[in-house]
């Protein structure tokens, strides 16, 4: 993992019990995770009374360094030994290394979930609704008497802001074809996961 000098300096400050006592260290660490993982988190995350005595510039630097490191570690799927090695290099004592690793472990799943959800992908189908109707006549054609389906696929785009819908009509044979093909896909999926 390649990390900048800025991050390293931040961590070296974090390692120093003179700048951050045990309590402050834990608080800052938690704040870093919170900023990343809590959708509602904002600048107030560093507004704890037990952090007030620390120079705000230092506070921001360490917070940023920690957050940067956490993201990089998450991205690379760093294991405990990788984390320990880097923290040792930054002069973290045993206790702080343990604290960091525990906190990381607790948040690992959420972190990986967050990172996995970033990125471009094709429009994603989230749901389907259908309507069955019996067609009787149009102004061009009377006495139709046939069933028809209207299928709507709910689709989400990666920016999560647009939710276009795809609607189409089909008769029974066509719907059977559609369902048949989707079933083939899901059977293939089952087989592939058993390999």
């Amino acid at each position: 993992m390649e990390l900048s000098e800025y991050v390293q300096k931040g961590f070296q400050m974090l390692a120093d019990p003179g700048s951050f006592d045990s309590n402050a260290f834990t608080l800052l660490l938690r704040a870093a995770f919170q900023s990343l993982l809590d959708a509602q988190a904002d600048e107030a995350v560093l507004d704890h009374p037990d952090l007030k005595h620390i120079d705000p510039v230092v506070l921001k630097h360490c917070h940023t360094a920690a957050a940067t490191y956490i993201l990089e570690a998450g991205k690379q799927r760093a294991d405990k030994s990788t984390l320990s090695t880097y923290l040792e290099d930054c002069k973290f004592d045993r206790e702080r290394i343990e604290l960091f690793c525990t906190e990381y472990q607790n948040n690992k799943n959420s972190l990986e979930s967050l990172l996995g959800s970033i990125g471009r992908s094709l429009p994603h189908i989230t749901d389907v609704s259908w309507r069955l109707e019996y067609q009787i006549k149009t102004n061009q054609l009377h006495k139709m008497y046939r069933p028809a389906y209207l299928v709507t696929l709910n689709v989400e785009n990666t920016d999560s802001r647009s939710h276009p819908e795809i609607s189409f009509s089909c008769n029974m044979e066509q719907l059977q074809d559609l369902v048949g093909k989707l079933k083939d896909a899901s059977k293939s999926l089952e087989r592939a996961t058993q390999l």
């Binding site: 990986e112 189908i125 069933p147 899901s186």
Partner: protein, 199 residues
């Protein structure tokens, strides 16, 4: 139900008894071809020269015949009703039989063409699928994320469009389940009763 033929329409059709029955049959063929592909005025001119009449007359004759066939097909009138409707035109027995045959032979296809005129949503054509596994992205390495990529082919008013979409295994199963329920619905008592009774 009888067809309501206007005076103008009857005038146009009055051309038909003046020609040979083979010509009428040919007009019938042209009429259906025009419904399939759109009209071609050059055909009128060619026929007009051969029959020694104005091309307008030929055009009216063909159009009159077309309208007769499409209205009858649209309403799905019975053989008897068709015969009674045509009877008022005072044509020969032979011509009436010919017109009836034209109607019966082409009714199904004409109805298919007419159904394409209805307000239209894109309709399903076909579907292709592919299984993918995402292994890594810029923001996260060492992934195993299965997904299904789907290419949906749709038709609308003769235009073909495709939509490329993706879904996850859980949603795929959900889609199959929901749509199978949709298919099952047609077999329920309620739907069967409706189909039986609305005719």
């Amino acid at each position: 139900m009888l067809l309501d033929l206007s005076e103008e329409h009857k005038e146009h059709l009055a051309f038909l008894p003046r020609v040979d029955s083979t010509v009428v049959a040919e007009f019938g063929r042209i009429a259906v071809e025009f419904l399939r592909r759109g009209s071609n005025p050059k055909i009128y001119e060619g026929a007009a020269r051969k029959l020694n009449v104005s091309s307008d007359t030929v055009q009216h004759g063909v159009e009159g015949l077309t309208y007769l066939l499409t209205e009858s097909s649209k309403l799905m009138i019975s053989e008897l009703d068709f015969q009674d409707s045509v009877f008022v035109l005072g044509f020969s027995e032979e011509l009436n039989k010919l017109l009836l045959q034209l109607y019966l032979d082409n009714r199904k296809e004409i109805r298919t063409i007419l159904s394409e005129l209805a307000p239209d949503l894109p309709s399903y054509h076909s579907l292709e699928w592919r299984l993918d596994v995402q292994l890594a992205s810029r923001s996260l390495r060492q992934q195993i994320k299965p997904s299904v990529t789907i290419k949906l082919h749709l038709n609308q008013n003769g235009d073909h469009s495709t939509k490329v979409l993706q879904t996850d295994p859980a949603t795929l199963l959900h889609l199959v389940q929901q749509l199978e329920q949709a298919l099952e619905e047609m077999k329920t008592n309620h739907c069967r009763r409706v189909v039986r009774n609305i005719k």
